[in-house]
Symmetry: C2
């Protein structure tokens, strides 16, 4: 394609409000433009990248016999009322009325839509398992859209769903989907980690996230520096072995209540008692959707992990309790809470590290007072059912598999696969008859890839100070063919010959036919970041051109007769490396 | 692909509320399902057809160097307020507020969005002309969605726009786009006509419609049975040569007012006067958006064509006047209106056939009275500027090019190309500096193809009593491979061999691996309508299969060794024919 016919408005300056690298570069290089807050137009170069990503996704979905479909983006509210999400999804859900005053939403995801289709049309286990997917705009009325394409109100997602008649079918679909995702992200050429994800929010039992490490990421990836272990921060586990009987052979000292008017924090308490935080406990209160209080006790050196608590309790959401509610129920303020003497209507959960402490200090549930020498079961009843990992892992701790230290890095969620179970099939009555003629709920999985977010995630990872550096498989064009002087007959002739021969080889070639100075052309070429640049300059008359590789900046002078083969080798080399 | 893994829920009965053939067949064959009124899910077979249509559209758009882009579907109301369409588009526009109480719409088309992008980023004539397009869901809150995919509230469109610095640029873009459309519809294999369309509503100067003849069509295509002439009914012209001086050599009889209390219609008047309707005139009143009355006079044998009137007057909309308003202004009711003695604030337009009448009868603008022997200029002032073609053409009349008779047929609009001019660039300030450094409005064109409507339009044309009959280039799969008995070893072996060899040839093969009776399999195969069926039956052991061509029902027994080549020939034959 001729650059003169391409809408590619590069900028000299980075717009002031673009905070992260991908947003800055995609604006500057003429890939995207905002239309309104959190909604972007994809200009031709970006659309070419999106098309390549989508083609890879389609090929890998088709290769596992997933069925491509397309459902409406506007959905009747009634469908989401039946699943309950019309109320629970919150403010991010776009709601509106049509001309007949009926309620509709803009779909942020489509579990309900596909479940309803399957409920109506699939009646026998013999028709299952089935995998379906679609690639389509999704909508989320973000309170604070930000970071360019990383958090938008309208975005392109591949969403997929599996329907099975039994758990083995779900497990098999999940495994196939995970393998397909690995192939997809490998082919795209992005760096990513497969991490343990939080399935709880979707009502599921198992989940994995595909996360692309990048400074602009909003998630924290926790991984071991010596093993394959990786999880998002909400799910990450450090290594800890419970003690068989921690109180064995230790004198249980007498419980003692002391005045601690100035010890409102763990550090203040530790200072006061000259004790390490890991030998004290802290107690925070969370509130369930049913407005019940739950006390969660951890050692003083860890923070409570709300996601682990809510998954343990089986809720899709728990929140930190309000101090007034705590005071009214327990009789004490934050900073003086503890496990001893809680009212009966407050459930107690204890982190496994705290459960192993002996003779430890804790808040006395009385403002300005703490107990010393608290001991489980003597002072507070505690059963194994109340004990689990409720803490947020620390960077540097031993990983849960005992291999290597936990490292933290920022990541962008680019894919997520869930075992959903029967949440939606129960709500919408999606049942099949099993081998014995009994009605059974379909068992579902849900599998997403953020297509437009990938565009930004790649840009976050693949760039340098001159601009973007696209992986070969998703670059808008393969080759940037740049005649230095479009009025020079030799250069024009050689450019035309190269365009013809490279194109006939199946390569996508962008020809910079503009009457611009060489410096402008080279700067634009570096900025938009195609894998290979061929410069047709003064030696064109001698049939010699210059080939530059964007990724490593290497340059070669080359005879025209060698170009075709060399370009193929250079491009394949880049693809193989990934 | 194996049919057991395909979500293809065929029905035994046609749902009762499906009125037109395409809707009935696409439901029955498991291609689509309604999600709510006017919004459909495209099941896997339909999505495959859509993908093939989209691929053809992309290839032909790319071949004229149109730039593929993608803009948000949710648009800020402010953009449409600036063009004026936020108010004028009417109830079909989906309007809603986001969580911050700002106004948004769902885009039914994107002239404003692209104009704004170009206004911001294109500043010089040197960057033009440019062609851009996108394929995407569009939204129209139809009062009465109907006919399955033919009139929906959410639909897939290819919309394209051209931006030029001068009129020649627009003309060239329009011509390129028309040629590309011809290739697209030829390749898709649909029967269509290119007809003169109504450009007025879009504020443009020239337009062509691509219309697919079909009984379910909502448009009337008017075409000559002996020439290339074709237009939609609103624009169609019959052949008529104005007389040089119709009053020459004829005695102008005295104007005479008569009582006609029982002649409220043209037929009643013609009966009363024993005169042919073509020698009388009728006068109807229309009202402009500024609420001004316009009298339009035609001969009694024709109906007034409101679209021709509104385009002549330069409005996007005129309506028939309300009888009370007419009575208050003119002093007479419908049925007694005429050109003589109209108040000064009522503009007069006269159809060219009526302008050539002499000594004709017309309403007297007095209830129950008509004039006889009206003559232009003696009784009513009339200049050439008031005379034009304001009539709706009749079937059977001579076509405007003088070649052949006008024929009427129903058609489905599948494409539409417009010369838009500067309506949107003026409204949104999209200007470039021209060769002389002067600011000039960009000149635009707008070009649409109804992608999802095409799916239905093809189904309307290509079916028989057994089901759908897809043209080869857009069929969901090329070949339906049907082993009669999936427990027969020979049949299983031959099926696997054929699947492998056909697939490796680049063909898309659907294998009916279901344990169903042959009758069920054949009925389903006919219903979903793939171009070629290969039946692997009792002669599989002798390496003989049966090949059936869906389009003409022909059948051949064939040796396995001949199949590959024959299928290629049969498929190419179908493609070439189109």
């Amino acid at each position: 394609m001729k650059q003169s016919q391409l809408f590619m408005p590069t900028l000299r300056e980075i717009p002031a409000d673009a905070e992260v690298k991908s947003h800055q570069l995609l604006l500057k290089a003429g890939y995207i433009r905002p239309v309104t807050a959190g909604m972007f137009a994809y200009l031709p170069l970006a659309k070419r990248v999106l098309n390549k990503i989508e083609a890879i996704v389609r090929e890998e979905m088709d290769s596992i016999d997933a069925n491509e479909m397309l459902v409406p983006e506007v959905l009747p509210a009634e469908l989401w009322q039946r699943s309950g999400r019309y109320e629970t999804y919150g403010q991010d859900l776009y709601k509106f009325k049509n001309r007949q005053d009926r309620d509709f939403i803009l779909g942020p995801t489509h579990e309900e839509t596909f479940t309803e289709l399957f409920a109506n049309d699939i009646k026998s286990y013999k028709k299952l398992p089935l995998l379906v997917y679609q690639i389509q705009a999704k909508f989320r009325d973000e309170g604070r859209p930000r970071f360019g394409l990383l958090r938008t109100r309208e975005f392109i997602m591949k969403d997929a769903y599996s329907f099975s008649a039994n758990q083995e079918g779900l497990d098999a679909a999940f495994t196939k989907m995970e393998a397909a995702y690995v192939k997809i992200f490998d082919r795209i050429g992005i760096d990513y980690r497969v991490i343990v994800g939080d399935a709880g929010a979707m009502g599921g039992s198992d989940s994995k996230e595909f996360s692309a490490p990048a400074a602009a990421g909003e998630d924290t990836i926790v991984y071991s520096d010596k093993s394959e272990y990786a999880a998002n921060l909400e799910m990450a586990k450090d290594f800890y072995v419970r003690q068989d009987n921690p109180q064995a052979g230790i004198d249980l000292a007498d419980l003692q209540k002391i005045d601690t008017p100035h010890a409102k924090t763990i550090d203040e308490l530790a200072n006061l008692l000259d004790e390490k935080p890991e030998n004290l406990v802290k107690t925070i209160m969370v509130v369930t959707p049913e407005n019940e209080l739950v006390a969660v006790v951890t050692t003083g050196d860890f923070e409570v992990n709300l996601v682990k608590v809510q998954n343990f309790l089986g809720y899709s959401d728990v929140e930190l309790a309000d101090e007034a509610q705590v005071k009214a129920t327990v009789g004490a303020s934050f900073g003086s809470l503890g496990p001893v003497g809680l009212p009966e209507n407050v459930q107690l959960l204890v982190d496994e590290r705290a459960a192993d402490l002996v003779n430890f200090a804790a808040g006395a549930n009385e403002d300005g007072k703490h107990y010393l020498n608290v001991n489980w079961n003597r002072d507070v009843d505690l059963t194994e059912e109340q004990i689990a990992d409720f803490r947020t892992a620390h960077e540097g701790d031993l990983a849960v598999d005992g291999k290597g230290q936990l490292q933290f890095t920022k990541g962008i969620e680019i894919g997520h696969i869930f075992k959903l179970g029967t949440k939606y099939s129960k709500a919408l009555g999606a049942q099949v008859l099993d081998e014995n003629g009994r009605a059974t709920d379909m068992i579902m999985g849900s599998y997403g890839i953020g297509i437009s977010r990938l565009l930004a995630a790649i840009a976050e990872q693949k760039s340098d100070d001159k601009g973007l550096v696209w992986p070969a498989n998703v670059a808008p064009f393969d080759v940037h063919l740049v005649p230095v002087n479009v009025k020079d007959d030799d250069q024009v002739r050689v450019t035309a010959e190269l365009e013809e021969s490279l194109t006939s080889q199946g390569l996508e070639v962008l020809v910079d036919d503009r009457k611009e100075r060489a410096g402008v052309k080279f700067a634009d070429a570096d900025l938009i970041g195609l894998p290979i640049r061929i410069t047709v300059g003064k030696k064109a008359g001698e049939e010699i051109v210059e080939v530059s590789v964007r990724a490593d900046g290497s340059n070669f002078e080359m005879r025209l007769s060698e170009v075709n083969e060399s370009i193929a080798v250079l491009l394949n080399g880049q693809t193989d490396e990934e």
